[in-house]
């Protein structure tokens, strides 16, 4: 027995930077320029969008619904940096306001899908057997439902309410999350440390919460980051069809729809919302890819 040599090894290990898993992950993320760019864009854009009421009041000088029918549509100029629409509304204010709605739909829709998906998938994978078969067949059936028809039905029955949009989108997006989590839980369940937790006599709920879910954080974060742009896109798609956000409220989808209708006469009404939205979606995807690489367990071994 040589305890001294152990002491030395530990000291050597502790001297290395990045002792914890998350610090390691952050270090790898920082090396990924594209992901950092994505992170920066997302942070700046979100900040601007959520500060929209203040910006409108003190910087832009117009609110998103303030009309100036006498002015009509003007191209970008000193007073209206991104121009105005046919009702004389400032595009920048509308873009920021729309961003707030779009990002909120994205985050809340993802949160809904995350909550349902993680719980559903974890229970299904952890319990296994007949319950698992039953739950997963239910997912298969829901997968087979055409999304557009589902949303149209919802809107027709319950009226157009933005809260319903979260529910509709969350209700579709959780399916994939549930499948991913279930698969991960099933493979984790075979690991010896789960067997060790059973040997300790821990309750199944504790094994699930303390030993399985924390080890799922990597894939969950990655998938959530990639779900946000997907949900934003879905909302835009619905708004484009006229099923989503209703005027005078706006979202990026609404702005793009309106812009597309008038793109020959007033091209700036399409260009700017489309650019901002494309930039956001790219950034979120880069960030998601960055997270995936940074949190990859296989990469952390070398």
């Amino acid at each position: 027995m040589m305890p001294e040599s152990n002491v030395q090894t530990i000291r050597r290990i502790e001297a290395e930077p990045g002792a914890s898993f998350w610090r390691d992950a952050w270090r790898r993320l920082r090396k990924n320029k594209l992901a950092l760019f994505g992170l920066a864009v997302v942070v700046v854009l979100s900040a601007l969008c959520f500060l929209e009421p203040l910006l409108c009041r003190y910087v832009i000088g117009y609110t998103y619904e303030q009309q100036d029918l006498a002015l009509g549509p003007v191209p970008p100029c000193r007073a209206h940096w991104l121009g105005t629409d046919p009702l004389g509304r400032d595009l920048l204010a509308r873009l920021l306001y729309g961003g707030r709605i779009s990002l909120m739909v994205g985050l809340l829709g993802t949160a809904v899908s995350l909550t349902i998906g993680v719980i559903y998938g974890a229970v299904s994978g952890f319990v296994g057997g007949n319950l698992d078969a039953l739950l997963m067949r239910a997912v298969d059936i829901l997968y087979a439902l055409p999304f557009t028809i589902f949303v149209i039905l919802l809107m027709v029955f319950f009226g157009q309410d933005i809260r319903l949009l979260f529910v509709a989108i969350g209700a579709i997006e959780w399916l994939t999350m549930a499948r991913i989590v279930r698969g991960q839980v099933m493979s984790l369940k075979q690991q010896e440390f789960i067997e060790a937790a059973r040997a300790l006599g821990l309750r199944p709920s504790r094994i699930l919460l303390r030993h399985i879910i924390p080890n799922l954080l990597g894939p969950i974060i990655v998938y959530a980051t990639l779900t946000v742009p997907e949900v934003i896109l879905l909302e835009s798609f619905l708004s484009f069809l006229g099923l989503g956000v209703q005027p005078p409220q706006s979202s990026w989808g609404v702005l793009i729809k309106e812009g597309a209708e008038m793109m020959e006469e007033y091209p700036w009404l399409l260009t700017y919302p489309a650019l901002v939205m494309a930039l956001t979606l790219f950034s979120l995807n880069f960030l998601g890819d960055g997270f995936r690489d940074a949190l990859d367990v296989r990469a952390s071994k070398d």
Binding site: P3, N6, I10, F21, F193, G201, L202, N215
Partner: protein, 337 residues
């Protein structure tokens, strides 16, 4: 929590333990196409504080036996009685409570520790699982546990991936000890480690077993590893114990032809004696546990096999030496010659 010790009853009694796994085919309509008898009728007794070495080739069912003993795999048949308590009859919460008395150390220390838990959290969880202490006492308890397995107090802040294989196995041992069990099953605890580390871990296990009067079942495929630590040795072949006896007895004069072959295969760390060593070479592979040969499972590879061997399933019978038993119908014949 501990049942009163009855001097007549053994500390641990295993009776006819079996773990069978059906092999199924088919997608919707599943039918059974075979049965793997991983553990097939194992019986033995252990005294308190005894160390049993369990050896056998890979696939002989020794790991399954270890897990079936601790109810991590529910046995198909038979009984495990620890201090008069039928573990095989326990379910749910009762079984979880009973786990305070028996723990397991796993083969792969890289897989047996939760990568997201610090050493402090992992050991605290094990301490609090059965005999809870106030949170304020935890740091002292964790430090004491680490000291017991030869790790410095600062190790508690680390995550498993910061430790070497040997250190992780020490942590796994500390976690098992945290519960203050009476019985530990160590499933090949050193086979994933460097040879230079193996001796340290074996010495550590031997020391803590002695200090804490632990009963230890040490599973290994390596006879020379088991030789150091065991009071008694059991040799498994195809789901059965073919020989069991005092460590010295099994090594000095093995009775079962399979044990003889195993022991003759141990290299001697002395070139001159190694050159003179006579080896019994076993022909063929161990048979599939899906289709075990009739009669004695070892007869197709046995140098001493006669016709009767393929007809009679030999029982584990006491032999001339006290406490030494072998499952071979010709044991007396071939060992007196």
């Amino acid at each position: 929590m501990t049942a009163p010790e009855n001097p007549a009853a053994p500390f641990l009694r295993v009776e006819n333990l079996a773990a069978h796994f059906p092999v199924e085919r088919g997608f919707v309509i599943r039918r059974r196409v075979g049965l793997v008898r991983a553990v097939d009728g194992v019986s033995f007794d252990l005294r308190k504080g005894e160390i049993l070495g369990l050896v056998g080739e890979s696939g002989c069912g020794k790991s399954t036996l270890g897990r079936a003993l601790l109810q991590l795999i529910r046995p198909t048949a038979g009984a495990v009685i620890l201090q008069g308590r039928h573990l095989t009859a326990l379910r749910g919460a009762l079984l979880r409570e009973a786990r305070a008395d028996f723990q397991m150390i796993f083969q792969d220390p890289y897989a047996s520790l939760n990568p997201r838990m610090t050493v402090f959290d992992a050991l605290s969880e094990a301490i609090q699982a059965h005999r809870p202490v106030p949170n304020s006492e935890l740091p002292a308890r964790v430090t004491a546990l680490l000291a017991k397995v030869g790790l410095p107090p600062r190790a508690q802040r680390g995550y498993p991936h910061e430790f070497s294989g040997g250190q992780r196995q020490r942590l796994a041992i500390a976690r098992a000890l945290a519960v203050e069990p009476q019985l530990i099953v160590a499933d090949e605890p050193v086979s994933a480690l460097d040879v230079s580390i193996q001796a340290q871990i074996i010495n550590l296990l031997a020391r803590v077993s002695r200090e804490m009067r632990l009963t230890l079942i040490f599973i290994s495929h390596d006879l020379s590893v088991v030789k150091y630590i065991s009071d008694r040795i059991a040799v498994m072949y195809l789901g059965r114990i073919v020989e069991i006896g005092p460590a010295g007895g099994v090594f000095e004069h093995p009775l079962h032809p399979y044990t003889k072959a195993l022991i003759s295969a141990i290299p001697i760390p002395d070139p001159r004696r190694e050159a003179l060593r006579s080896r019994i070479l076993l022909a063929g592979d161990p048979p599939s546990p899906l289709q075990p040969p009739p009669g004695c499972p070892f007869h197709p590879r046995c140098a001493y096999a006669v016709d009767r061997c393929s007809q009679i399933v030999p029982a584990l019978e006491p032999q001339a030496d006290p406490g030494h038993a072998a499952a071979c119908i010709r044991a007396r014949e071939i060992n007196t010659a």
